[in-house]
């Protein structure tokens, strides 16, 4: 482990680490908080909850988002729910079990201390959200309702219909609005961070582009928090929102923040299959559907043929001719195996020729049994809005025929490397939520992203950042007219000028689509040495093509969505390259990362703890130079590391 990778995990028993750390953290008095400024970039669950909580504490906060309103952040699209160790169901749940499930679900590639803390604060998140007026689902007695999610055997997921992310975000956004009204937070919508400014080795501000006027603006602070989500859109087609991007995180990487485990990307098993070449976005169907839906493909290839030719319907295939392959392969968890396992199993069946739509890339998710067992009304209460959404998109009713689903890129577990305090390798720079790497290891369990975003934003960052700021209150406001800020702005201006000067013939999207193909084919659900090496080469070629042939129309000083996309695509090249490099060095199969060379005889993922039980943290070495790999060993002191088993 290099000196730069000090994870700062407190000593002592697991259950006491967070309490111990909190007691060590220096406090900032209220009159000093007023002198301190914090920049928060991103307004999803992490960013909004952090900015609101920091503002409430008395700090001066500036919050930035690329959308017209903080409420548009992509957290809003999370459907299924949020986990918390409340044990309201009396099913023997506990902080320890939530911790254990999360570590196991992440295939033993996350930090024990961070994950335990996440489980520890989970219950307080639900309390906070209910107090904010979030209308979680209720039992008839008025108590909170729960449901199950993949990879666990208890019922600990809280939900608000299929719109849990929306409701939680509206809660955090309301808390943010309250602080904006109080004057502690200033909001900058339609602003995009394009660079991080470092002064004397510390994060001191950002350069942002006003997306309406096109002007570059400088903003200074005593600390910067990155909460800009993941980089799933590197693949072009994903369940991420169209504007979700990895640029803020990548700019931090280029300024010295290490980027950890970039190859850990989650491929979600239940998305609506790709329908054609014109598509630019994939739609997720909530994992909660796997509570009652059964996944299958036909046993006989002739039935597959008939389905593809529309000669028969799925509902006409008799029970004995169906292969409920998850129930067959993983009897203990059945349809509720974790996402990576379910995705690979779907791919396995489709690769074997059993895919059920014209493209051969779809499996069935069937509710016929659930409707029989529970009745129409109860199924409608649980999944009505999802059924409706599916029907709107596909023009097929899940009440009559099973849904068709296929895996798609959904979430990135990798992200900016942070220590226990959520501070990056750059002092004064913090990363929270999906933007950091810390809690999900190689695979994230369902309903845990919302939990992590809010844990970081409400309860962890507002405490830990105080330790850094307690040494900063004597420093004056950051002057944005210094050479560091001027140079950073000039560099961004040069980037923009370069793009407009190319005047080629290819559109940004057409090149992004090509990048997506390279990524999906070589850095997707199954990866091998040959494909990854090839991907690195192909990305470099495509990048060259981009700088020679892209056409960015319009000008800088106007609302220009093509320029926005071009700037983001520049960064996606860099991220794609980093993902491929990371996947290449990790010669094991682990969570969402499946190396073809590393599998059991039954085709299950084979982890290699002896050689790869570490966090891979990449250091930027300059343009055109290979990044340097640093390793943070993962130590499991409190749980026994085992092979993940969802079979019995």
């Amino acid at each position: 482990m290099t000196d730069k990778l000090n994870s700062k995990i407190p000593e002592g028993p697991l259950a006491e680490k967070w309490t111990k750390r909190k007691s060590e953290i220096h406090l900032v008095s209220p009159n000093n908080k007023r002198k301190l400024e914090i920049i928060v970039v991103g307004t999803g669950l992490g960013g909004a909850s952090a900015a609101a909580s920091l503002g409430e504490l008395g700090y001066n906060v500036k919050i930035f988002c690329i959308s017209d309103s903080p409420r548009r952040a992509h957290s809003i699209a999370a459907q299924g729910g949020i986990n918390a160790a409340k044990n309201y169901q009396n099913d023997n749940d506990s902080v320890y079990r939530l911790f254990y499930d999360t570590i196991k679900g992440g295939d033993y590639r996350s930090r024990e201390a961070n994950v335990y803390r996440l489980a520890e604060v989970s219950a307080a998140i639900i309390d906070q959200c209910v107090a904010q007026g979030i209308p979680f689902a209720r039992e008839y007695g008025g108590y909170l309702a729960n449901r199950s999610f993949g990879g666990v055997q208890v019922s600990r997921t809280f939900y608000a219909r299929g719109q849990t992310g929306q409701q939680l975000l509206l809660g955090a956004y309301a808390a943010l609005n309250r602080q904006i009204a109080a004057g502690t937070v200033k909001s900058y919508p339609r602003h995009e961070m394009l660079d991080l400014v470092i002064v004397n080795g510390q994060a001191k501000g950002i350069i942002a582009r006003n997306l309406v006027t096109g002007q570059l603006e400088r903003f200074g602070a005593h600390a910067v928090v990155i909460a800009t989500g993941g980089y799933g859109n590197t693949y072009f087609l994903s369940t991420n929102a169209m504007n979700s991007n990895g640029s803020a995180a990548l700019q931090c990487y280029k300024k010295g923040a290490f980027f950890a485990n970039p190859c850990f990307a989650q491929i979600h098993p239940t998305c609506i299959p790709v329908h054609g070449e014109q598509q630019c976005k994939l739609t997720l169907m909530s994992e909660s559907l796997r509570n009652d839906g059964r996944i299958w493909v036909p046993k006989k290839l002739e039935d597959v043929e008939k389905l593809r030719k529309h000669q028969i319907k799925a509902s006409q295939i008799p029970e004995e001719d169906r292969d409920y392959y998850l129930e067959r392969r993983y009897p203990a968890f059945g349809n509720l195996v974790p996402r990576d396992v379910a995705s690979r199993a779907a791919k396995e069946r489709c690769d074997a020729g059993f895919g059920v739509n014209e493209t051969g890339k779809a499996v069935f998710l069937d509710f016929a049994d659930a409707i029989k067992r529970l009745g129409h009304q109860r199924v409608a209460e649980r999944y009505g809005n999802l059924f409706e959404m599916y029907e709107k998109i596909t023009a097929s009713s899940p009440w009559e025929e099973p849904m068709m689903i296929y895996p798609a890129i959904h979430y990135t577990m990798g992200g900016i490397w942070v220590d226990y305090d959520l501070q990056t390798t750059v002092p004064g720079l913090y990363a929270i939520g999906e933007a950091n790497f810390s809690d999900h290891g190689g695979n994230r369990l369902g309903a845990s992203a919302l939990m992590q975003g809010l844990a970081d934003g409400y309860f962890i960052l507002p405490v830990t950042i105080g330790d850094y700021l307690s040494k900063k209150f004597a420093e004056p406001k950051t002057d944005v007219d210094t050479k560091e800020f001027i140079e950073a702005e000039k560099a961004v201006q040069a980037r923009i000028d370069r793009l407009f000067a190319i005047k080629g013939k290819k559109t940004v999207d057409s090149i992004h689509k090509e990048l997506g193909h390279i990524m999906w084919n070589n850095v997707g659900m199954a990866r091998d040495k040959k494909g990854l090496t090839e991907a690195i080469k192909q990305i470099a070629e495509l990048r060259k093509d981009f700088y020679e042939n892209v056409n960015v129309p319009g000008s800088q000083f106007e609302f220009n969505q093509e320029l926005e996309k071009a700037l983001r695509l520049e960064d996606f090249f860099e991220i794609g390259d980093l993902m491929a490099r990371d996947a290449l060095q990790r010669e094991e199969s682990c969570g969402g990362h499946f190396r073809v060379e590393s599998q059991t005889e039954e085709g299950e993922a084979k982890r290699d703890d002896e050689h790869f039980m570490y966090v891979a943290a990449w250091e930027y070495k300059g343009e055109g130079k290979e990044p340097e790999l640093h390793k943070e060993p993962l130590k499991y002191e409190f749980i026994k590391v085992a092979t993940r088993n969802y079979k019995d």
């Binding site: 548009r72 309390d127 906070q128």
Partner: protein, 259 residues
Amino acid sequence: MEFNLKIWRQKNAKTKGHFETYHISGIEEDASFLEMLDILNEQLIREGTDPVAVERGCQSSGPVSFDHDCREGICGACSLYIDGRAHGPDDHVTTCQLFMRHFKDGATITVEPFRSAAFPVIKDLVVDRTAFDKILQAGGFISVRTGSAQDANNILIPHDKAEESMDAAACVGCGACVATCKNGSAMLFVAARVSSLALLPQGRPEAKQRAKAMVAKMDELGFGNCTNTRACEMECPKGITVAHIARLNREFLKAKFSD
């Protein structure tokens, strides 16, 4: 499928806008309306660099700007007024969930921004809806400090009340209600928030203040009055009903009477 698209083009807030007509073909039935616009934009960018097209007199204003993000009908960013209806001809959907199978092959489709005095145009089909944020900042929250909440199950909420509150909380803040209302009123938007919180015990302590402050802010920002035409309810992509406006009115009156 092929279409003629009559689209509102406006360089910025200060210039006058106009319609331009484009022809587009080769669109799949299963394509969404926004995917169709993506394809149009690809075409417009290519034409802009095509010397033959420029020689033919093609005066491209460049790609069409429009707000969009999640494309799953939940973020509320998309905001197109299509053939005279907010979010277009399908019911209970946002623009991103509108599919081309709802149009006749060969049809001429008119696309405009959401128009309202309170939503100035930024460019083409993009409008400024920060007025909505300002209304919510005036009181659309419950004042609870982070970390001060009691155990969640100490607040019992009957199943049906929670469901009703959720019906109102489903608002995506798109502004279709304002764009549809002949008065440009934001009553349905304000009502959704006021009602959702008023139905819950946690929301009661600040209910009066909230209703008064949000309504006052709405008036101040140039939104019109409600004259009960119920047009907003018809076009709300989330099916939020005017029953919530009735609750807002009750809350508002109660607050005024107790002044």
